[in-house]
Structure formats: structure tokens, C-alpha cells
Amino acid sequence: MTPTLLRICVCVLLAPAALMAQGAKGSAADASAGLDPKALSLFHATGDSWPTYNGDYSGRRFSELKQINATNLNQLKNAWTYKITGVGPQRGAGSPMIKSTPLMVNGVLYFTIPDHVFAVDARSGKELWRYDFVDKGGHLLGQRGVGMFGRWIYFLSPDGWFLSLDATTGKEHWRKKIADEKLQYFTTMAAFIVKNHVILGVGGDAMDVRGYLESRDPETGELQWRWWSEPLKMGDAGSETWPNQGALDHGGGMTWMPGTYDPELNLMYWGTGNPNPVYAGQGRKGANLFTNSVVALNPDTGKLVWYFQANPHDTHDWDDVETPVLFDTVVDGKPRKLLAQAGRCGFYFLLDRVTGKNLVTKPFSKTANWAKGIDAKGQPIPDTDKEPKVDGSMVDIPVNGATNWPAPSYSPLTKLFYVNASEGYGVAYLYDTAAEPQGFGGGGSGGFDTKSALLAIDAMTGKVKWRHEPKGEGAEGGGMAGGVLTTAGNLLFTGDSNRLAAFSPADGKILWSQVLESRVSNGPSTWMLDGKQYVIVGAGDSLYAMVLGGK
């Protein structure tokens, strides 16, 4: 029996749906082959899969594919659309919205919304299986997707269950509880696979709990290590940035976005979220390490190797979980391993990813006047006069931050870092004036003169090389949306208004667009199958696949 036939037999036994979806030409989706670990690389090389949330370990979201390029863009058309059915409005969050980036492995796409996983034939858009979970709490605000190891798919439910599913059938293999939704933890992350580790982060800042990141065994789901976002006890390294044990124990620092990884250095890079209580900082005087930081961890031990804090003592709910993007370049004749991040706090950071040493700290959204300067380590120094006040304190960063989780991109061709950003003014109010406040403790209001823009930032200097400010306001349909993808076809894909648009990465000129039913709600991705390059994007409850010539 040839391996192919064997695989088909397995399909018959395990997945009638998968078999039915197979095409006549032998180019069927074949989930049973599992994910070859070689597909996981620092810089996405092969282009025939999209095996992780960011496509590769670097988080660059740059693809070497160039079948689709500026000369033939006008032929780029929708090949199929998969619309989620059978899911009504999600509790507190409205209609289903795809925020996950689909994995594409062996011709099958795997993507999610909160409580639901879908496997779809990448060639046809036909559903192979779906997995529906019934939660008992947690936020249904977003779900970033799944991770894959061999033949297993990993999924986090909103209420802290870590599930292993069979990639061929969608059947549950096992589940482990990793976070307590009753304490207001919730889980939305796309599992991140490094060697034999499944790395999982948590969210939740309503009730002052500690953030953590953990590693679990891909076969058994058992805990391998857990790293806490705060030092465990007073006296430990970093505890000098907290006033007391109580503040440490309730200090927040959620880990809700997938990180990045350098296999050569064996270092994993992770962004942490805001400290708690969120807006009321008076009970946690100090920088509050290791919240709102980029941390470099050893994936085998969970030990901290270095950290860089983007917004010390945050009081604005500006999580620093935005992708720490890895790229290599040559500086003064020497090869450099670098890490770039555009933080929600409005600063662009460039670090040496071997040491964590800062090279650039520069605002990309107005002046980021919550900071009054930059310290010797390159970290912004928060201005105490810009902390939330009972009567309000205005900063020149929008309430929800200068950017957020939607993926940025770095192109080695242009050496530019691309990010959808927000500009404007917000006012932060303090409600809980107690010496030891609890919960959010305050809030932000006021979208004053707020607008979005696609920024192209010179990765080595932090200077904005070009910006695209979309015409119109929300009510009229304008505005940037979703994440960014760049390709060797000299294209940049992102959401603009209710379209997927392609821009020229060099100068920001709009080259092409396609109307969608909703605004882009995830990060676009791309891969090759049967010699055809696909561009995949999620918008609201639908996933769209585009190829040259359409169907």
C-alpha cells in the first residue's frame, strides 16, 4: 500500500467528511499527514504552508511568494468564500468575527472564533469539520486561532480549557484546565509551538489577577513550566518595582498574544499586558515589572533571560502584547539580530534580540505625551501628571492605544515596518481613589480627533517614511482595518474601509482592492497550493480566498 493510499484509508475510517471533500485530481486536503516540524522556521521559507499564527517564528508576516504581484494584481479575484453558519450573536460581543489567522497545512485551513474551530478545504472552501464548544464563562471578545503539532490541533476555549483535537476529524483528544474563569481569566490565544512545548498565555484584567505564560506537553497536555508576569515574592528580581506582596499578587500582566522565537538563540519573545488595577496605579507605585514588557524566555525552562519594559507603571490599559517582530540585517558591516515592536503606548522600539539592548525608542503616534522622556535603558519615563485623574487627564494617544493586536509586518525588501495605527486624544479618569484600589479602578473616554493610518516606519530609525490616512470617517465607511501582510511580489495587503486592499510597500499607493461583506477583522495571509498563490483574509463571519483569475 502506498503512503497515499494508506492515508486515504485512514481518512475513510476517521473522516468521511474529509474524504467527501476530496477533489478528483488527487489534490485532496489531507489532514492525516500532520504537520512536518520542519515547516516551523524562523523566516518562512517554503510558502507551501502557513503553519503558525504568524506563518513563521519571526512574526514578520512577510512571504517570499511573488506569483501575485503588481503586474497581474488586476486578475486577483475571489475563488471561494466560507461563511460561518449556525452561530448566533456571541455573548456580549455581537456577530461572529474571525480574528484568527488560519493555519494552512496539507491543503486544510484551520481557524476559529470564540468557542468554535473550523477545518476547511483550502482549495474549495468546503467545510471538512467543525468543533463547537459550550463555555461556562470568559470573554467572547476574540480568538486568535489554533496551534498544530503533528496530527493535533490545539485550541483555547474562552473559559480556560486547553483542548487537543484530531486534525483529521476535529474530535476532542483531551482537555486540560489552564485558567480559572471565575477569577476573570479568559483565554483567546493561538497556541504557540516550540519544539515539544505548547506555549499558552492568558487574558483577563477585571479582577486583579496575576498574568502567566505556561508550557505544556503536546502529547499529554501536562504542565512543563509556568512563568509568572510578576516576581513571585518580595526580594525576587524585579520586586523592587512593586510596593508590597499584595500588589505583586494582584499585578496583572496578561500574555494573550502569540510571541515569536529565534531557534538559533533558543529564545522566545513575548509581550505582556497592563498591570492591575488597570487605571488606578496608586496602590502599585513603581515600574511594575514585568508587566507591559517584551520578555525573552528560554522555552525549555521558562526562565527569563532579559526584559525591556515598554510602558513602565502603565495606567492607561495599553497592553504591550503587540507582536515582537524579529528580523536580521547588517549594521556597519556586522550582521545583527534585531527585534522591533510598535507598542500600544505609541512608541516604536528596536532592540538587539540577543541582549535586549535598546537601539531606538521613538513615538509613532503624535508625541506620546504620557511619557516625559526616555531613560538610559531606552524605556519611556511615565509622566505622573498624565496618570488618570478624578477630573480627567488628557493624553495624545487614543483611549484604546496607538495600535493593538492586529498584526504588523516587516519587509526585508523595503526594510520598513508596517502597522495600522490610531491617532487622537483620550481622557483617562480615576474612579477608585482608595489607597489600595481594585478592578479597573477607572476608565478612558473621549475619541477626540481620532483617526486611523497605515504607517510605514523605517525599521532602523523609527521615522515614519510614509503614512496612508484613509479618507472618510467611520460613519461614512473609511478607516484602516485588520493586520498587515507583505510579499516578495512587492505588495502589502491590509483592510481599508470594507475592502481588502493592496498597497505599494515602497510608497503607500493603493494598487488594488476587493469589496468584502464586512471590514477585515484578522491579519491576511498567503501560501501556495497546486502551483497557485492564495491570499486569505477574514472579515466578520466570512473567510475569503483569492487567486489570480478567481475560480
Binding site: 498624565k386 461614512e476 473609511g478 464586512s518 471590514r519
Partner: protein
Amino acid sequence: MVCVVAALVCLDARPVIAGGQEPELRPQAAGTGQGAARPQRSTRDFLGLGAAPDEAAAKLGEPLFQANCSACHGAAARGGTGPNLVRSVLVLHDEKGEEIGPVIKAGRPQGGMPAFTSLTDVQIYDIAEYLHLQVELAANRGLYKHSDTMTSGDVEKGKAFFAANCVSCHSATGDLAGVGKRFSQPSAMLARIAWPSARGPRQATVTTPAGEMVKGTLVKYDDFETTLKAGTGAVTSWPTATIKVEIPDKLAGHRALLPKYSDDDLHNLTRYLMTLQ
């Protein structure tokens, strides 16, 4: 969707219930550019806080808590010599007193907590609901309220700032007469001062490819397509790249002031304008 909330905030000055994970790339909301509005949702649902506390029971539980528990656990259950009960894992796991009850009845002798044997099951339920309400007040930020009074700001300084920066467009006895009555909450007044944007469709003049100028209301305007409803009622669409769109910038003065305000300036102005009754 958070943008919807943010937009509302400007009008009624309630706090943003921004999910920490939610992007805001646009000043206003609603999905698709096709006018699809999201359903209104409660913060309680959004946070997945489960069943709401029984407020009637909590009211009955409050004096019981004060009489029996507050000496150790603090007046608002946030801790004293005894532990904080608002952040207590046991309290957060409790639904209707089934976890809290046994502890109250048996005490925690090793921790120095006596048994409260005289409390009835109903009273214990009431105390548990009082604790759940304290959790609710901390965790459910949809219940947070802006202050009705100010702690800072100086009327005279606000008046001086107004005279120096605002009088070319506004008058305290003209367009702003009685403005303090319309915006009685300081945060609402501050938002109005900083950015009094109208939330309706904007007026624009379109110069068509043929060179004709059409005035009307923007129905749709983005990088790709522009639709205008003219005064005559005629609705026309053009590719945005083929036309010129001019929108009067009514907020230019306010935009220019945004980078200049100190918080004191805003508080002083708010104080002053609130005196215009």
C-alpha cells in the same frame, strides 16, 4: 465595537468599557460601512460575569456584614486584620452562598476566625450576596460612574483661557449661554469643550469628473467610493480617485487647541463653562 461605546461616551460621558484586546482603528463604529449597527451589549455579558448579584438580598446582607464581619474584613470587605473578600478565590467561586456559608458557620479556627452559629441560612445567603455585589462593583466597569462634582479647576483661570482662546468663535452670553445646564456633568462638559463633533453625516462639496460642483450630504466616503445625496435628493456615486471632495472643517479651532491644553486648562475651562447657567 468598542468604538460604538467610545462614541457614546462622548455624549453621555460614561466610561469606556474597552476590552483590553479590542482594536480601535476608527473613530466611530459599526461593522461594515454599510450602516450595520452592532447590538447594544451589557458589560456584564461582555465580561462573562455570570448571574447578577441579588441586590435585594445584598441590601439585607449589608448591615449583617457590618455587624458581624467588617471588624476583621474591612468596611467594604477589602480586608483588614482578616483577608480581602472581594478578591477571595472562595468568594469568586461561590454562586449563592454554598461555599461562603460553611466558612461562616464553622469559622476558620486556625486562622483566628470564630464560627458564626447564630446566623440563619437566609442571613448567610444575604451576606454572600452582599459580597457578590462588592465583587460586582469592582469587576463590572460598566457600573463605574463619572463624578458629578469636580475636585480641581479654577473658574477665573478658565474665564481667562476662554477670553484668550475661544472668543473668536464663541460667546458666553451668546451661543454658550446656559451651556452649564446642558452639560451638567463635568466629564460631559470636558468632552464637549475638547471635541464637540456632531455625530451625523457630514456635508460636502464634490467636484465631479466633468468639473461640476455638487453640494450635499455624504452617504459614503472612503478611499475607493464616494456617494453624495444632493440637496435635490439625487444620490450619486463616483470612484473617489476621480473627484475632489471638500468637507468644511468646523472643528479646526478645537483641533488646534488639543495639543495645547494642559489638564489644568481643561479643568479650569470646564469649571468656568459650568457656571454659565
